[in-house]
Symmetry: none
Subunit: 401 residues, 2 copies
C-alpha cells in the first residue's frame, strides 16, 4: 500500500488507451499431485504470447500475508489504498445486488434468525430459508415506517438481506446486533460515537417493529444486523487520474466497486464474451477500461482445480479480441489469489503482465506464479499497478522540478 | 519512500569511507533495432568488473510509475523522503545558477513574456530572447526597490530568470502569475495562507514596477512568475548520519542539492576527470563523497542513444581511478532513468551496484537494467540505498536492544 499525495497534480489526460483486465482470483497454488498451479496447468497460448511481449511481475494485494476480500482487492488495483478506504460489509452486500447507494446512506447486512419462546437465538441463519421465503419476509419488513427516515429491505440469497437506511445525519458507527452465539437474545445496536445516537435509536426502533411483524414466523422470526457502513468518501478516477473511465463487469458487485471509483458502467452482458464486445463497441468513448472476469475465482472458491483450469482456458480464448484493439497499455492482473487448494481467497502474490512499448523486456514467458517471479517489475504492492499503467501511458507528468 | 525515524539515534561515525557515484539518468530502455539498452550496448569493462565484485539491484526513485525531477531523484539517493521534502521550481532554478539561498529566502522562476497593447499575453517566452538580452532586462529589474525587502533578479538562460526575495517573515504559499495561456493578462499572485499576505503584496508591487520598467521593450515587456519556494527544512547529513560529507559536481544544480543536505562542496572542476581528481585529493578529509556524472542524462534528454552509450563509456574510463581509492563502500547508482527512447526522465527502476566486503554475492555480472533484476538487493526504494551504504560501512548501530 503505497500512496502518493501528489497524484492529482501530476496526472494528465492524453489519448492513450489503458485496458485493465482483472481476472478474479487469478493466482493459485500447485496441485499436490502434479506440482503445477492452475495457471501452469492451463493451456493458454494467447496469454503466453502476451506474456512474452510484456513485462511481468507479482502484486501483493494489501500487504504480505493479508488475504483481501473483493473490496480491498479491487480498490488496490484501481490505485486506492485499501487500508485508507474501507468498504464495509453492508455496502459490499448492497453493491452485490446492484443497489445504488448515496453517500449518506447506511447499509447493513442482515440475517433472518430463529428465536425460541424466551427470545433467545436457536439458529442464527433461520435454517437457511430459501430466497423466495426471505423475499416475502423482506416485503413485510418494508412496511415498517419510521418518521423522517426511509427504510428499504432487499433480499440477497437464502437467509441474507440488506437493510438500507436513508435520512439526514446518519452515522455508521454502530455495533452489530448479532451476538455470534446461541442461547442469548439478539443485541440492540449501540452508538459508537455521539453522532450515531439518532441512527442507533432508529435502527433499534426498526428491530422492535421487525420482531413484532415476524413473531409468528416459524423460522425467520427475528433479524440480526451487522456491517453498518457508508460508502467511503474517495476521489473519483476522473479527479485523481484525469481519466474518463469505463467499467465492464457481468456481476453487480464489481460494477458497484467500479462505480464507487467513478467509472461509468457500460454494457449489461452476462458473459465475458459480451464484456469484450462491449469493450470493442465503446473503445472510442473512454480512455480507461476495467474488465472483470469472474469464473476463475468462482471455481477456486469451490475448490475445483480442474474447473479453475478450464475457466482460465476459456479466458484465454477471448484474449485475442482484446489484444487486437492494441491499447497503449494492456494489463492482465488479479485482485487476489484463490487457490483451489484453499477453496477461498488467499494472501499469495498475484501474477500480472503489462504490455506497452515502454516496458523493459524480461525472462517471464508465461503469466504464472513461478515465471512472474523473474519479471522485470519484481513484486509490487497492488496499488502500484495503476500508477505504472498510467506512467506507461504517458498520463503522469514529472514529479518535482 | 521508506523512512526510519530512529536513524539519527543509531548512526555512528567511524573511519570507513563511502563513495556514492550518481550517474544522472543512468537507466534506459532497449533500442528497438537491437533490443539492447544504452547500458547493455556500452563497452564498460571497468563497470562490469566492479559489478562482478559487487551486489546489485534496482532502485525505484520515488514510487513505481512516478517520474522524478532532479530534486526528488537526488534527495532520495541521499536518504531523504522525496515526498516529505519538496524542492520547489524556484529553489531548483536558483541552485542551478549557483545562488546560495538562506532558509527564509523566497525563490521564484521567472519568464520574460510579451504583452500586446491591451496587456494580454501574446508570447509566454518573449520569443525566447537570448541570455545577453535578458541579462540587460534583469539589470533593469534589479533597480526595483521595495522598502524592507531585498530583491534580486538573476538571468538563467534565454527568457528565464530567477527572482530572489529576502526579508522577514516571507512565505512561499503564493499562486503563480503565469496563466499558462495566451490572450489573457498576467495574473497577480495570491496568498494561499494568511501568513503569505505581505509576501503576496510585495511580489505584486514588484510586478507593477516591472511592468512600468519594461513597457517599452518590444519582446520582454513583462514577466511571469511561478514556483515560489523556500529551501526545505531538512536535517543535515551530519546530523542525520554523523557524516562529514563532501559533494563534488561539475554542474551548479547538483552542488546546490548537495549543499541543501549539508555536504561541503569541494572542487570547481568542469569535467568528471577533474571531479575524480578532487575526490582523490580530498580523500583523507571526509568520510562520505557524492560524485555526480551528468553526460549520460544530457544525452538521454537529447534522445541520442549513441551519445548516451558514449557517455557511459567515457564514465567507464574513469572508474579505475575511483576504485583504486578502495573505499569501504562504493555505490554506483542513478537518480532516475533517462531512456534515449523517451528523450526525458522516466519512472523505470535504475540499476545500482554496491561494493563492500560485506555484500552478498549475486548473479548480476553487469550494471544493466536486465542483469540487476537478479541482483541480491532486489528492487528497493531509492531512499534505502543510503541506509544500505551506511550499514555496509559500519556506520549504523543496532536498532533496539
Amino acid at each position: 500500500m503505497i500512496d502518493f499525495p501528489h497524484i492529482e497534480e501530476i496526472s494528465q489526460s492524453n489519448k492513450s488507451k489503458v485496458i485493465l483486465l482483472v481476472v478474479d482470483g487469478l493466482g493459485g497454488l500447485p496441485n499436490p499431485s502434479t506440482g503445477m498451479s492452475e495457471l501452469e496447468t492451463a493451456y493458454t497460448p494467447n496469454l503466453d504470447q502476451l506474456a512474452t511481449e510484456s513485462a511481468c511481475g507479482l502484486t501483493t494485494p494489501v500487504i504480505p500475508g493479508i488475504t483481501p476480500g473483493s473490496g480491498p482487492g479491487h480498490l488496490a488495483l484501481f490505485g486506492y489504498d485499501p487500508v485508507k478506504y474501507y468498504i464495509g460489509r453492508g455496502v459490499l452486500e448492497a453493491l452485490g445486488i446492484g443497489i445504488k447507494l448515496g453517500k449518506d446512506d447506511i447499509a447493513a447486512r442482515g440475517n433472518f434468525c430463529t428465536l425460541d419462546d424466551e427470545g433467545n437465538i436457536i439458529d442464527r441463519r433461520a435454517g437457511r430459508i430459501p430466497t423466495e421465503q426471505s423475499t416475502i419476509l423482506c416485503q413485510k419488513l418494508n412496511s415498517i415506517d419510521i418518521d423522517g427516515f426511509e427504510l428499504s429491505v432487499e433480499p440477497v440469497r437464502d437467509h441474507r438481506f440488506v437493510l438500507i437506511l436513508r435520512g439526514d445525519a446518519l452515522s455508521d458507527r454502530l455495533t452489530q446486533t448479532d451476538p455470534e452465539q446461541l442461547g442469548v437474545s439478539p443485541l440492540e445496536t449501540k452508538a459508537l460515537t455521539d453522532s450515531a445516537t439518532i441512527t442507533a435509536s432508529t435502527v433499534n426502533r426498526f428491530l422492535s417493529s421487525a420482531r413484532e411483524l415476524l413473531k409468528d414466523e416459524s423460522l425467520g422470526n427475528m433479524v440480526l444486523l451487522r456491517g453498518f457502513s457508508k460508502i467511503p468518501t474517495m476521489p473519483s478516477m476522473s479527479q485523481r487520474y484525469k481519466l474518463h473511465p469505463a467499467g465492464i463487469a457481468a456481476y453487480p458487485m464489481y460494477r458497484g466497486l467500479a462505480s464507487l471509483c467513478g467509472m461509468e458502467i457500460i454494457g449489461t452482458g452476462e458473459t465475458f464474451k459480451e464484456e469484450v464486445e462491449t469493450l470493442a463497441q465503446n473503445y472510442d468513448k473512454h480512455d480507461f477500461f476495467f474488465l472483470h472476469y469472474k469464473p476463475a475465482d468462482a471455481a477456486g472458491e469451490d475448490g475445483d482445480f480442474d474447473e479453475k483450469v478450464r475457466a482460465l482456458e476459456a479466458l484465454d480464448v477471448e484474449i485475442p479480441n482484446i489484444v487486437k484493439l492494441n491499447p497503449e497499455v494492456l494489463v492482465v492482473a488479479g485482485d487476489h489469489s484463490t487457490p483451489a487448494l484453499l477453496a477461498g481467497h488467499s494472501w499469495h502474490p498475484v501474477p500480472f503482465l503489462l504490455r506497452s512499448v515502454l516496458c523493459r523486456p524480461d525472462e517471464a514467458k508465461r503469466l504464472t506464479e513461478r515465471e512472474c517471479t523473474v519479471g522485470s517489475f519484481g513484486q509490487l504492492p497492488a496499488t502500484s499497478l495503476m500508477f505504472l499503467a498510467l506512467g506507461h501511458a504517458g498520463k503522469l507528468a514529472k514529479y518535482g522540478p
